[in-house]
């Protein structure tokens, strides 16, 4: 087998790390498009969810009162989960994400759910931000079981070291 045909060894494997701060529908599409696409072409992929990005990985995809305090519960109910993410522009009271999903389906472009499932199937590493979870009164059990770990900045920097990092 010539050098061109040789598979990547672990040390040669490229790495992409994404920081998902946004809880917007369109930005979540961008996160999971990059994550699944990179994993499909053999990158190691890490996604670090912080602040509004935590809504994307909640176990309950709809609106739920989560957290202990009144404000935690109100915030988490109003923000909702993956099925309540608003479009960053022209949201029209929450109608637009559904319309956009329909347009994506009709044009054979993967929907947010399909990209999310593809990312899980390809072994994308998902992490939650410890500090943001604390602010919003969320625990690891509030998230999907595929969340690999709860991290702080230093641990995320260690994970992303040596690869490309994007903030969304």
């Amino acid at each position: 087998m010539g050098p061109k045909n040789r598979g990547n060894t672990m040390s040669e494997k490229k790495k992409l790390s994404l920081i998902c701060m946004s809880g917007d529908f369109d930005k979540a599409v961008a996160v999971f498009t990059l994550a699944s696409g990179a994993a499909a072409v053999n990158y190691d992929v890490n996604v670090f969810f912080t602040f509004w990005g935590l809504n994307v990985i909640k176990k309950n995809t709809g609106r739920r009162f989560l957290g202990k305090g009144l404000l935690d519960r109100a915030f988490n109910f109003l923000m909702g989960g993956r099925s309540n993410l608003p479009l960053s522009r022209l949201n029209f009271g929450g109608i637009s994400p559904g319309l956009m999903t329909g347009m994506m389906r009709r044009r054979r472009v993967a929907t947010l759910d399909e990209l999310f499932q593809a990312s899980l199937a390809l072994g994308v590493n998902l992490y939650a931000c410890e500090m943001a979870m604390h602010v919003l009164g969320l625990g690891k059990d509030d998230f999907i079981p595929e969340i690999k770990d709860v991290l702080g900045v230093a641990a995320f920097l260690d994970l992303s070291h040596g690869g490309q990092t994007l903030f969304i």
Binding site: S36, G37, V41
Partner: protein, 80 residues
């Protein structure tokens, strides 16, 4: 040894790569995957990334209207 088939001619980025990768992961050494794909990004990148991952592209044939047929094989001796 078996051959599986995948048609990604109607899919768009990144599902072209995603579907191919998921099928390639199922192959045993000696198995082949036949992929129908369109010219442009899928044809430029699917064979390239398959080779990068240690697979061999046995055939790359123009079929019709911008559609190509690839045959990708998992080499004997590769990790199952």
């Amino acid at each position: 040894m078996s051959q599986t088939h995948l048609d990604i001619t109607r899919d768009r980025c990144p599902m072209t790569f995603v579907k191919t990768k998921l099928e390639l992961e199922k192959l045993q050494p000696g198995d082949t995957l036949e992929v129908l794909l369109t010219e442009g990004e899928p044809l430029n990148n699917v064979p390239k990334t398959a080779i990068e991952q240690g697979f061999a592209v046995m055939e790359n044939v123009y079929v019709r209207d911008n559609v190509h047929r690839l045959v990708i094989r998992k080499p004997e001796g590769a990790t199952p």
